[in-house]
Amino acid sequence: MTLPAAASKGGFMEIYTTSLAQTKFLFFEGKGGVGKTSLAAATAVGLADAGERILIVSTDPASNLQDVFERPIGMRPTPIKGVKGLDAVNLDPLKAAQEYRDSVVAPYQGKLPESALDNMREQLSGSCTVEIAAFDAFAAFLSDKAYAEKYDHILFDTAPTGHTLRLLELPSAWSGFIATNDLGASCLGQLSGLSEKRASYEKAMNVLKDGTLTTMIYVARADDSLKEAARAAQELETIGIHSHLLVVNALLEENADLRLKPLLEKQRKACEAIDPLFKRVAYLPLRNYDVTGLKGLRLFLEKDEDENTEKGETLLPYDDLSALVDDLISSKKKILLMMGKGGVGKTSLAISLSLELLHRGEKVTLTSTDPADHISELFKEKKGLSIRHIDEKKELADYQGEVLAKAKKANVGEGELAYIAEDLRSPCTQEIATFRAFANIVEGAKGSICVIDTAPTGHTLLLLNSAEAYNREIQHSGGETTAALRDLLPRLQSSETSIVIVALPEQTPILEAKRLQDDLDRAALPHRWWVINRSYLLADFESGLLRQKGKQEAHWINEANRLSQGNLVIIPFAE
């Protein structure tokens, strides 16, 4: 089978534009780095150029709408110069959440002890707060009639998660619990005056569910992100949202370079396995340019750019993997964690690092959370290497089961049980469940270097830290913190640990990695090295497309170099 016909063959625009024309509200959903914002912005420009009145709303904390349009975008709809009929608005929920947090804490400065203020701040920093703040931000655009009349289409560069929507739909979310603060919903509690917003939220929810009004556009690449898109769609499906359109972005078309063969094969397999839930699928090819500025946006849906003969930025000095390994060995690191968003190559880096360490005569315990568990398949036996696997889904299910069983045993009522069950679906619960599993592994790995292809976020660790102080008290009498769990926190914060930040040489992943780094600093977790994976630039491709693409990496690689203060490793593309 060859790859599906992509945009260059006219297939994309046909499917895409007819789908889009049908609804007023268009949501773009997809994980970081798949090209979600680019697609949303290009679509907005395209529709406006066709004579429609368009508003594009960004509620993504990682929004690069401003970068994409190359101009500042404010908190109110502002016309985009150069595109007739297009307004844009940037609602930063991260900022909103932070402003909210500051406004809550500020009045108590000096009145409550610092430990109490810290406790408050951390609780108001979770990903849930941001999610709800985002929903709050766009509910107004969905339910306000004035906007609906003023614009033919309203585009959102992010979509609410199933978790958020389910929480809002639980009757217990509204029935007094929150109003009286009796039952602290992890995610909803922080929105003051929530009950006044009920009508607006309900209307927003109805708009989302109405397939004649709303289309959910899932953006993915021809890799594992397709599965993630399917999961997101299935989740929304259960809530009653049925109008899905899948866009497979950055599809590499047939190419003679042998190094690309495995990648093409991988793409083909991923596309074949697309969830049948997606009845409409549109394919968009990999472009030879970064999609920024109006010129790039106008080209994006249509074609490649003419070959650019300009030279790219010159790379600042960087290192290779052996320099990193030298440093880890000489500074006697015992716990190495790979941190980065999904799809940046954490598992493959963990493998390369482990092999390099083995090569130097170190003993290694390599732990993977990769659901496919490729690692165990790769090396059955190797001297000095032991392999562990964490099945995150199973850990989560076990943990959920454990909590619910305990809640039932403790005579917790039905309504509250439903609430606990939803709390247990929050992203932080998955982190906690995984953390428990790897506490046991680290505990058992004494005497060898522990390499793990994932890392808890700073937020999780801070939560655990504050919970730790509190739990110490309870623990005297029946608390169930295991020794492994207790010991791990201080070890992670000590000099025997190093967290390696992993990213790809593109704008969004680098900016996301920067946020992860800030998070680590907040939690006082030791980190030093950044690794940039899959560089086309270093792979030195002959092909015009990838050569061109590689040139544009230089700018972002240099940015990573600055962010890591020169502790940067670049790994060339090799699939």
């Binding site: 603060n181 305990k406 917790v412 919970a467 730790e468 913190t481 295991t482």
Partner: protein
């Protein structure tokens, strides 16, 4: 009765390093009492810090001992418990519960109260 509790990801305790059976017990009891018209007001530090300043006892305790002193349990304005929640029997006593309701409250699985008070784990299960 009022609870003054630390800011937590969720009062179900599911976000802590382990499930906290104590929080589940409290949630169960609070729910049961509420069904019988007996309300316990729960103040969470992140959501309602003002309440922590308004109550003299609470304010004194956390100024002196920090947020670690939470939860603090107040009855008729006075702090009666700190560093933890009351026992099942305490709930029965404070609310003057009788008959089947008292029985139900006492049926909640309680942490075994023990010698705690110093910093050493007392090994009770």
């Amino acid at each position: 009765m009022e609870f003054f509790e630390p800011a937590m990801c969720c009062e179900s305790g599911t976000c802590g390093p382990t499930v906290d059976p104590e929080l589940l017990r409290i949630k169960g009891i609070v729910g049961l009492l509420a069904d019988n018209g007996l309300t316990i007001k729960r103040h969470n530090l992140a959501k309602d810090p003002q309440a922590f300043l308004k109550n003299e006892d609470v304010q004194k305790l956390i100024t002196q001992y920090g947020a670690e002193a939470l939860p603090i349990i107040v009855v008729e304005g006075k702090a009666l418990w700190a560093y933890g929640y009351p026992s099942d029997q305490d709930f029965v006593d404070v609310f003057g519960l009788k008959g089947p309701l008292a029985k139900k409250v006492l049926a909640f699985k309680e942490k075994k109260s023990c010698c705690c008070g110093d910093d050493t784990p007392c090994g009770c299960k």
